[in-house]
Symmetry: C2
Subunit: 198 residues, 2 copies
């Protein structure tokens, strides 16, 4: 059943030129996506990296694969935050709410890294084929645990689900790409208040 050479989970190291191009592509993509959003031209990315378009596709078969590689470190930081928040006490309503608010704020910031990212993330949640799916699922799971604690402590309205919170986060992040920062922050506060029990 398994191929002649067992498919190593850990990829063999890239050739030196490949590693170099990989890094250049990531650097270029970071700049281009920041300027033009996640829908930006991939030919522009390759051009700015000084590689041929085929090289880009060689390293990143899809736009989402590129995005995933670009976000990897940031996503790890978000996961770490989730672990940290879940390790904290969180017994009182105040604690539980503070943890959830910190989580929502952080993930909103993450999803607002590039314009267009929020939509991609939200869309990846139930698209198993997306390279972003795993990360979304993991964020969603952490959110779920925090929502459960907050609900148990009576710190959020009982009809709100983890999936609602994830959606709300992404709509707040979308807003950050559409309106001035201070306004987006104010509206995030409004949304957070809306989460309180009535």
């Amino acid at each position: 059943m398994s191929p002649p050479t067992a498919p190593d989970r850990r990829a063999r190291p890239l050739r030196a030129d490949a590693r170099r191009n990989y890094e250049r592509l990531l650097t270029a993509a970071e700049a281009v996506f920041r300027e033009r959003g996640t829908g930006a031209s991939l030919e522009e990315v390759a051009r700015r990296a000084g590689t041929a378009i085929g090289t880009l596709y060689g390293h990143f078969p899809t736009r989402q694969a590129l995005l995933e590689a670009l976000l990897r470190d940031r996503q790890q930081a978000v996961f770490d935050l989730g672990d940290r928040l879940l390790a904290q006490p969180g017994g009182t309503p105040e604690e539980a709410r503070a943890a959830l608010v910190e989580w929502i704020t952080a993930v909103t910031g993450h999803a607002a890294t590039y314009s267009g990212l929020a939509g991609a993330l939200l869309g990846s949640l139930d698209d198993e084929t997306s390279e972003l799916h795993a990360a979304c699922a993991r964020m969603s799971a952490a959110g779920e645990a925090l929502v459960r604690e907050a609900r148990a402590a009576g710190a959020v309205r009982p009809d709100v689900t983890a999936s609602d919170v994830f959606a709300l986060i992404n709509s707040a992040a979308w807003l950050r790409g559409q309106v001035p920062r201070d306004q987006a922050d104010r509206l995030l506060t409004v949304m957070l208040d809306g989460l309180r029990p009535r």
Copy 2:
């Protein structure tokens, strides 16, 4: 200063074939935008209307002009609702809040007509060159009056502006294009609750 033939505000009637194509293009655009969102291919629209692409551009110089024509009736209905709500009493907090909630709900539905529309509307608010600008400004103005009344009645938090409400409406509409309808509705409720004074 004015051109030889004074530029009639009311356009002269279209030629019969032109009128026919205009209608066909609108019908096709309605279908295509509904299926694929406001970013859909205009060549597809022309194709489906059975006209050449140049004919489409002849009638609608920009995508937003097409969108504006497509939305005209709906937008009128929204304006009418605004007038009606403003004509109502609205003295008590309950009345003022109910009016604002009805307005927000209606505009959210409007902005969710096609996926991508919310972003276009929000972006048109401070882009005078957009064909959607006038309608946005008018909706914004109606919202402003309703927010003012609600605030005077103590029915919304005092730090929230009309522009915030317009932004919130559009983020709720954006959500409607990303998640199931019932979830979007639930989250609109959350946002509406967030608007209450603390």
